[in-house]
Structures are given as structure tokens and as C-alpha cells.
Symmetry: C5
Subunit: 257 residues, 5 copies
């Protein structure tokens, strides 16, 4: 499990709290309910306008995925594909059917099943690639909900600050209240900046990163299955798939040469 | 009907009103006619320069589409195409003519009609894809009217604020009026930010989202019709088209394998 | 003639004047010659550095094109191409020569002439597409002059304001002059924002829009001429070209099916 | 020689000086050595981090190219290629060798030499296109040095202003010095904006424009040489190459038809 | 070794220190621990959310690469490939095996080894290109860590400044402390701007530049190996590869003609 995101969030929040304590600030000056309402509520309502409710309700799942993701194990994936290739080479494509039970990944299963069924290679590749494309589209939609919230949060922060300033300025009978009024007005901008830079934007970036990783592992699978289906030498397949890895991680590269 | 957009708008406006009430503000300090004129009128006039009148007059239709859109029913669409494929497989391509009456979607109708007429596959695909491209272009034009208004609204907001500040600063005989003057000047910036972030930008994003959904459903149709025309097995067609869906929605996937 | 742009400009300027009058402002506070010099002169000189004099001198023509453009008549264009296709189908390609006199558009003429001359289809398509590409490049150059001016105007506005502030701040003997000094300094920023948002940016967008429209009409012509040359059925040609139009404008669609 | 850039620079600087004089400003209030050091030195040091020393030392050459460029003479270029095509058509490809002495352009020379040597067309096209690609890459690198400086100059301007404000604010014993202190602080922002908008950004844009022009002329040459090598009719070559020009500049178009 | 980056960093920092000294500033007014914590800690924690720990821990290596990179020696690379081509032409592809010991570059080794092993050309090209693509992806990931930190540093700078202003404004009993309070608040913005513009952004740009250089050298190798494998004339290979260089560096161009 990659806990960097979790560490990052805790560290980010901790730092801001720490900085307030070190600056001798009073926590209560940083809490303002209407400001929170404008920023959080505003970003949510703008996102509701942009996206169907369904994309929106998937957000908790998305957050969980960001915080508790497992790193892609490319090396293990390549080993599995090479081992399938060895079976296919030794005992024929049909022998792969008996091994389907061991395969956990649905995408590999789909590909192997089609190969066993004798589906034509172009059809297999077409189906697998369409699957990757629609996965990419779904990922992109998920990411863009967060991207938009990271864009709207500061905008609503500014709207709230302008509202605060206008209220303060149109009612300046008590000059001693100006400082406090401006402080309250500025809190909304701060909330917007924190919501965007501690949560929405980094989460969106992480989602984009995880998506790219998953696409690469699917690309490895497509290449592997096409090679298995065409009966290529498992050593050549290993060498081909290893080029997706950084040189130092290429386990079987020696023998392949 | 997807009412998320409607909910989003009501919630966004409600929040801003609520925040004013909670802050003890006076509504009248947030109403300024010349500011509204500059922001709304300015965005409209800038959009009028950018686009022909026609694109502009289509805006109410566009707003209706955003607020009252129906989600695309991909599963139903795939079922319909598979059922057409079964008819074609069983009774031949010409038998599809009798089923044209049941088909509501003009785009499917166009494709099936051409298949029945014996038009060559390349011509069918070319015509259907050109249709998709020109639909995409029309959608993009509609979206860019809103995009531009979301860009001009804050700009005119700033112009109005600058005008207000200049008037105030060049006439500072009564210092007690400075606060009120600045409040009025800032209202224009606030109007610009609200117009852009509650209306124009989220509407433009929603339009973009709806357009992408519609393009995907047209892509499914093109793939389906090309497969029907070439007489593919309905089960393989179903499997192919299902790859456009997220795995959990793939109804017939089991049997297809 | 599409007068939306003209209406937009007049409306935009009218609104700003109206807002000043309604705000009880004094026009003279909004006129400052050095500020105008910095913004207009600065944008022009920056554009002169970016582009050759020729692109620059073409600006009045470009402005006229934006203000007085004619909408593209796609339907008429398709009718003309279909009518040419009918002649070619009935009387042979050479019969088109006699109809060249009726054709006003130079681009159609060029294509038909090459078809009549018996130029090979690949050469015709290559020449017509290169022509479209170089038209696109010329349009893009014209648009980017305006784009750059829309980018430089606010920048020079800010430079002017900074100059005004520095002058005012380094000479603050008379505190009562501070307000007026700041007002004058801010005027430059306002000029920059008005120049960019009322003129340069909307004009650039309109040019981009007109360019896209013209490219589409040329694309229709290329498709039409290639189809005429290959002797396709005029009804099929009509159907093909109609896909460039929104469904409701497809005149001959009924018969074509 | 295209002197627009030179005129633009002189005009830009003249305007700023003129505006100061008209505003009754004192030149000495606009000169501040540390500010200049931060902006110019900062942009240079940031660019040094981004690029190898070599790209950096090429800047004076680049500036000269921007200020004293010659416009591309497309018409002359096409005439030259057509004349070479006529020689090849009349006396054979080998006869071009005797004409190599008249050709000044190294790129044409390279292409003609390869055609004379009997190099295969695919190899000629591949070599010429790789040459264009690596030219494009070199141009882009040159442009991006200026682009980055145009991005860093305002950033360092802001850093300088923040430094000035912090110094002033942490030492406010003499309130009468506040105005002068702020003036000095703002000068750095002004320097950054002037450096970026009078020099770096327009120069980068001009370089991009010149690069595009040169790429077009190389594209014309590649098309011309490939056509000459395949022995096409000089009239058809002329017509092909003329499509790169705007219609009004197409000299030989009449006869070509 | 290209020390431009090292010089740039030292010069950038030196300039800022120099400007403070020249301005008669007090260094202690520029040091504020909580501000540093917010900016540096905040950028790090945001980057931790965005990327897996591994990408993050690679940063010191990346910094070393930027500061101590060696320029790509394209000329030497081309000479080496041409010399390998000569061996292959004279003594056959298998003779290259004995020369593998001299080759330092792993990428050339991989290609030559596959050529010697008799791997089919398409497979060699596919493997080498996949290798380049995955190198590009890894480079892009490394660069985007720095890009994101260059984006978050100013954002956290602004958050820190807002926090400082709110603390100051909500506690204005001692007006004489306002100046110092604002100074401290502004320091965070300054830290953010310095972190981004002296370190993160220029380092990211340099990484991008180095990556492009390495990709070009790999592209040269692929072209070279494919040409060696197909037994092309070493002179033609030299001429082909030389087109990647600027004209003045093309050593063997004379003889090649």
C-alpha cells in the first residue's frame, strides 16, 4: 500500500496548524462558518452543475482509491504473462484455459479467454484497446470532477471575500471593527486556497498519476496477450515487455539477450 | 432526467444568500444596477462580437439542455443494436427495413437505411463519421459561447470596479463616503465572479460533458452498424460494444465469452 | 451580412458610457492622454516587434472582415456542387467546362478546372488540401496579431499604472493629491482592460470563428469535387455533403435515402 | 530587410519615456540599481539553470536575427524550383549538376545533389524531412530561452517588490519615508513587466513567426525537389507550389491551368 | 560537464542577497521559520499526495543530474555508429559481436545484440521504440514532480500570507505592530516565489531539456541501428544521421555528397 498520499495530507494539515501555533495565533480567528459554507458549498454546487450526480457520488470511492492505492507490480505482471506464454508454447493455446483460474486480473482473463476461443487477433486487439480507451475516459471524468473543484474553490473563496469586504465597507461606523472585518473577509480566500491546494488539486494529480500507471499495465497486458496468441518465443516476449520497465528492474534481461 | 445541474444552481444561489444573511449583511448593499449592466451587458456584447447572432439566440435552448438533460442509456442502446444484429443475422440485412419504425434515434436510422440500401461499407462509415465530426463542431461552438462569457464576465467586472474606483478617487471631498464608494466599486467584481462561476463556466463544462457522452453513444452506434453490416455474430458484437461500458454494467458479458 | 459584431461593439461602448453617466461620474476623469499613449502605442509597438509590417497593415481589412462578414451559405454551396455533379454525370466531366463561368468561388473553379484537365485525383486532392492548409496558416497569422495585442494591452496598462504610482509615491508632499494621482494611475489599467476585452480579444475570437467556417466550406468543396471527379451518384454526393450540416438544415435528405 | 521589430522596440521605449515626461515625472525616480540587478540578473540566472551555456551565448545572434531579418521570398523560391524543373525535364536530372553553382540555398543544394546522385526518393525525402525536424527543434530551443526569460522577469520583479516591501515595513520609524519606499519597491515589478513585454515576449513571438516562415519555405523546397526528381511537368509543379501562396501572389497560376 | 545550472543557482541566490545588502536591509527581517515551514513543508506534502514515495525519494538524484549533467555528444555518437556500420559492411553483421565490448551505451548494445542475434527488423525497432517511450514516460514523471512543486510553492506562500494577515488583523491592539506584522506575512509569499522561480521551475525546465536531448540521441541510435541492420552504405548512414545536427557540426558531410 502506498501511504504517501495519507502522509502528505496529515503533514499538510499539521504544518498549517503548527504554523498558527508558532505564530501565537488564536484558532478561533480561523474558524468562520459562513466562509466555510461559501467555499465548500460553492465548490460542491458548481461541480453539481458540471457533472451528473453519479460522478459526484463516486467521490468517496475515488478518495479511498487515492489514499489507499497499491502500486502497480509491473515485474510480477510480466512474470505472469511470460509464464502463460510458456504454457501456451509447450501445451498449446487451449492449455491456457486450465490456468484461467489462477489469473486474478479480469483484463488478462478477458484476453486469454478470447485467445482460447480462437477469436481473430485483430478482434482481440480491437476489443482490448476499446476497453482501455473507455477506462481512460472514465478515469478522466473522475479526475475532472476534482480538477473543477480545485478551480472553483478559490473562485468561491474570492466571492466570499468580496462579499465580506462589501458588507464591511458599507457599514463603517465603528472603525475599530475594520481589522476584524477584513480578517473575516480574508478567511474565505484562505479556505478556498487550502481546499484547492491541500485537497482537490493534489487528489486530482494523484488520480491522473494512478490512471497513467494502470494504462501502462494494461498496455503491457495487450502486448503480452497478442504475443502469446501469435505463439512468440517466451524469451522474446519477456524482452519486449521488459522495455516498459526502467533498465534496473529488468529481471530476466540477461537471459533474453 | 438528471437534475444535478438544477440542484447545483439553486444550492449555489441559496448559499450566497444564506452567507449574506448569516453575516448580518443588508441585501440592498449587494444590489447595484450600473454594475449589473456593465457585467451582464458587457459579457453579452463581447459574446455578440465573437459569434454570429444565431449561436447567441440558441442560448436558451442550450440552458434548457443543461438543466433538463437525460442521461445516455448506453445499455439500452447496446441491447437495441444487438437485437437489430440478431434480426439481420437471422433474416438478412433487408429484414432490418421492417424494423426501422421501432428505431427512434435518427442516427441509427440513417445507418441502417444505408445498410439496407446496399451502400458500400466505406461510404457508410465515412458518412456516419462526418456526421459525428460536424456534430462535435456544433457542440464545440455552443460550448465556446459560454466559455467566452465565463472569460469576459470577470474582465468586465474588473473594468467596472476600476471605473468605480476612478470616480471615487477623483472626487474625495467627503472622506466618509470612501467606504461606501469602494463597496459599490467592488460589487462589479463580485458580480463578474458570480456570473462566471455560478453560471457560465459550470454550464460550459456541463455542455462539454454532455457532448462527450453523446459522441460516445454515436461511436457505439457506428461500431454496431458496421458490425451488423458485415454480418458479424450478435454475441461478438455485444462483447465489442460492451467494452465501452464500465465492467460492472456489462450485462451480457457472461454469455459472450 | 452578419451585424452581430457591429451591434456588440456599439453596445459594449454604450454600456460603459452609460455606467459612467448613471454613476454620476465626470467624463473628464476618464480621459488621460499619456495613459492612452502607453496602452495603445505600447500594444502596437509590441505587435510590431512580433510580426512583419505587412501583417500589421492588413489590420483594417481584418477589422472590416469581422464587422461586415457574410455568413457562409453551406446549403447553397452544396446545391451548387450537386448541380455540377448532375451535369458531370449526364454529360461527362468535360461538360463542366461550360459551367465554369457561373461559378464564382475561385476554389471550386480551381478544382473543377483540374478535373476537366484530367489531372489525377491524388494530385487534385493534394493541391486543394495544400491550399486549405496555407489558407489556415494565413488566417492563424491574422488572428495571432489580435491575440497578441489582447495580451499586450493589459500588460502595458499595468506598466502605465506602475509608472503612475511610482511618480505619485515619490512625490507625496501634497496628501490631498493622492486620490487624484491614484485615479490617473488606475486609468491606464482600465484602458488596457477595455482595449483587450472590447476590441482585441473578441475580434480575435470572431476571426477564429470565421476561419473555422471558411475551412468547413472548403472541406465541403474538396469532398464534393473528389466525388464529382470519381463520377459518384449526385444523390449520394448530396447525402455525403449534407452530413456537414445540422440535421434540420439537410434539405435533400429525404430523397437521398 | 524587415525593420518592423526595430521600429517596434524604438517606439515602445520612446512611448514609455514620453509618458514619463508628459506626466511631469522625474527620471531619477525610475532608476534603481538593485531592482535592475534582481530583474535582469534573476531572469538570466534562471535561464542559465534551464538551458546549457551554449543556447544562452547564442542570444545576441538571435536578437540580431529578430531585428534584421529578411522576409522569405516564396515567389522567387518557387521560380527557382520551377526553373530547375525545366532544366531537369529538358536535359535530364544529371543536367542539374551544372546548375548547382547558381543555387545559394544549402537545403536546395543538398536535395538536388542527392537527386543527381541517384539516391532513392524515399531516402531523399527522409533525409530532407529529418533536416526540417531538427531545424524545428533548434528553433524551438532558441525561442524557449526567450519564452522562459519572459516568464521569469515578472516573477523576479515580484520577488524584488516583496523584498522592498518587507524592508520598508519592518523599519517604519519614519512614516514620511513610506511613500518613497513603496515607490522603490514597485520599480522592480515595473522593470519585470517592461523586460517581459517590451523585449522577451515579443522577441520570442517574432522568433516563432520567423521559424514558421522558414519551415514553410523548406516544405516548398521538399515538395519541389520530390516533384523534380519524379520528373513531373514544370507547369504542374508550379501550380502545386503556388498553393502555398495567398491567391493574389500566384504569379504563374494563369498559364498553369 | 555543463555547469550552467550550478552557476545559475549561485548567481540567483547571490543576486537576491546582494540586493538586500545594497538596499540596506537587515537579514533577520527575511528569516521566518513558520513561513519557511509552510512553504517548503506545504509543497513537499502536496507533492507527497500527488506522487508515490519512490518518485519523491528520487529527487536528490534528479537534482544531481540537473546540476552535473554532461552534454550529449551527438558527433561522437554518429561517428561510433558509422564505424559500427563500416565493420558490419566489411565483415558482416556477426562481426559486430566482437565490438560490443567497446560500446558503453546500453541502448546501442541492446540494439546491436539483437541485430547480431538475427532478430527481425520490425521486432528490433518495436523493442527500441518501446524503450524510448517508457524512458520518456519516466522522464515526464520526474519532471512533473518538480512542476507540481513549482505550482504549489506560490500557493502555499499565499496561504501563509493570508494566515499571517488574519492573525494580524484580528489582533490590532498595538497599531505600531502592523508594519512588522505585514512584513512577516509577506515573507511567506516571497519564500514561495523564490522556491518556485529559483529552484523548482528552472529545475523542471532543465530536466525537460535534458530529456529532449537524450531522446534525440536515442532516435539517432535507432535510425543508425536499423540502417546498419539493413546493410546500408556507411556514407549514406552518416549523411542520414548528420541531418540531426545543425549544418555547421556536420563533420563528414563533404565526403558524403
Amino acid at each position: 500500500m502506498d501511504i504517501a498520499s495519507l502522509v502528505g495530507i496529515l503533514m499538510g494539515c499539521g504544518l498549517l496548524v503548527g504554523a498558527i501555533l508558532m505564530g501565537g495565533g488564536n484558532f478561533s480567528s480561523f474558524i468562520d462558518l459562513p466562509s466555510m459554507m461559501v467555499v465548500i458549498g460553492g465548490s460542491i454546487s458548481a461541480a453539481l452543475i458540471c457533472f451528473p450526480l453519479k460522478s459526484f457520488l463516486a467521490m468517496p470511492m475515488v478518495a479511498k482509491k487515492v489514499l489507499l492505492n497499491k502500486a502497480q507490480d509491473y515485474t510480477g505482471l510480466i512474470e505472469q504473462l511470460v509464464s502463460l506464454a510458456e504454457t501456451a508454447r509447450k501445451d498449446g493455446l487451449l492449455a491456457l484455459e486450465s490456468r484461467l483460474g489462477d489469473v486474478e486480473d479480469d483484463f488478462i482473463k478477458l484476453g486469454i479467454q478470447m485467445a482460447v476461443d480462437g477469436t481473430r487477433p485483430e478482434v482481440i486487439e480491437d476489443i482490448l484497446r476499446t476497453d482501455i480507451n473507455s477506462l481512460t475516459t472514465r478515469h478522466r471524468n473522475g479526475k475532472s470532477v476534482l480538477d473543477q473543484m480545485g478551480r472553483f474553490a478559490p473562485a468561491y473563496g474570492m466571492i466570499g471575500t468580496l462579499m465580506g469586504l462589501i458588507m464591511m465597507l458599507s457599514n463603517m461606523e465603528d472603525p475599530s471593527a475594520i481589522g476584524a472585518g477584513m480578517a473575516v473577509a480574508l478567511i474565505t480566500t484562505m479556505y478556498g486556497a487550502i481546499a484547492a491546494n491541500v485537497f482537490f488539486i493534489p487528489f486530482a494529480e494523484k488520480l491522473g498519476f494512478l490512471s497513467k500507471q494502470e494504462i501502462i499495465s494494461r498496455e503491457i497486458i495487450v502486448r503480452g496477450i497478442m504475443a502469446i496468441q501469435s505463439g512468440e518465443n517466451p524469451r522474446v516476449i519477456e524482452q519486449k515487455l521488459n522495455t516498459f520497465l526502467p533498465p534496473k528492474n529488468r529481471a530476466g534481461d540477461k537471459e533474453a539477450a
